[in-house]
Amino acid sequence: MNTHWSSLVYTTFVMGALAVYLLMPRAGRSTNIAGTLIGMVALALAMFLCADMFVGTSSGNALFYASAVIALASAVKVITDEKPVYSALYFVLTVLAITPLLILQHAEFLAIALVIIYAGAILVTYVFVIMLAQQGGRPACDHRARQPLLAVVGGFLTMAVIAGQMATLPDEQAVIVAAAPAPTSDAPLAEPDNTMQVGSVMLTQYVVAFELAGVLLLVAMIGAIAMSQKRIPSEKLVEPTKPPGQIGREVGPY
């Protein structure tokens, strides 16, 4: 709303970025404890800012804050944990924390689909691959991040600019609200039943896209099967004798 407020917003973003940077896996002494503390302070500051700005706006405030904090914390754990298996499990936690947010937005069907598809199907694929591609010991690529400072600065700078613009332009937000077709209230979207609404829109207005999605899934399935049949010799055996590109020509048909 004013400069004081927006400087608080930027402070929060800087602290969050610092927390992510300190939590990144690194070679020397672990800085996880400092990163965790700074991250907790940043989350508390963000909650305070939101409560200050959106006081009493929705009935699900407590649920929103709890879910958002869990989602953000576990998302940070996904990208900072040294073990890929833990990353995958924290990603399940992120998905489960996002589900109540979708229910608060009256997207019940999407919330359930999210749990079934992500936590049920996609994550199982990830865990399978993690188990298939077990690396021995503690590989260097897991305990040393690549350019963490540049990545953190880039990511959070983008974020801070977007959020700062959004939060400090109340007039244009009012224009957006005025341009919206109907005033947003809690009741109308849930009237016929969310699943029925989604289904009727998807199978009338977007029926071509729906069919194309089915075709896409079929093509992806064929591709995945074809890839899994392909036998590729380990490069350790072939590398010294063959010129580049030769290996691909010698791979047998599947």
């Binding site: 990208i79 995958a88 598809i117 591609a133 690529c141 989604v198």
Partner: protein, 100 residues
């Protein structure tokens, strides 16, 4: 409107976290997990903005996003397994032959 802003900010934050992970991690599997976090942020944004305009198109779009995510996970992880079989490592920096 005030109902929507925290959701949009949360979605953008998740997107930023995923982007940081995508840029800085070296394990191929964790890189793809980071893209999934970015997709979660996008899903939250789609649902929130669809609610702002009071129709379910955002939710339908999010469902198509799930399809794309499933396809991406299946194909990308298949490729990761092939790469792993070839060099016995998941380190993305081992695959830099196109740097020139």
């Amino acid at each position: 409107m005030n109902d929507i802003v925290p959701y949009v900010i949360l979605g953008a934050l998740l997107f930023a976290i995923g982007m940081v992970g995508f840029l800085s991690r070296r394990n191929l599997i964790v890189i793809f997990l980071s893209t999934e976090i970015m997709l979660q942020g996008v899903v939250i944004n789609l649902v929130a903005l669809g609610r702002l305009h009071d129709h379910v198109n955002g939710q339908v779009f999010a469902l198509f996003l799930f399809v794309i995510a499933a396809v991406e996970a299946g194909l990308a992880l298949g490729l990761v397994v092939l790469l792993y079989r070839r060099r016995d490592t998941l380190d993305a920096e081992r695959w830099t032959t196109m740097w020139g």
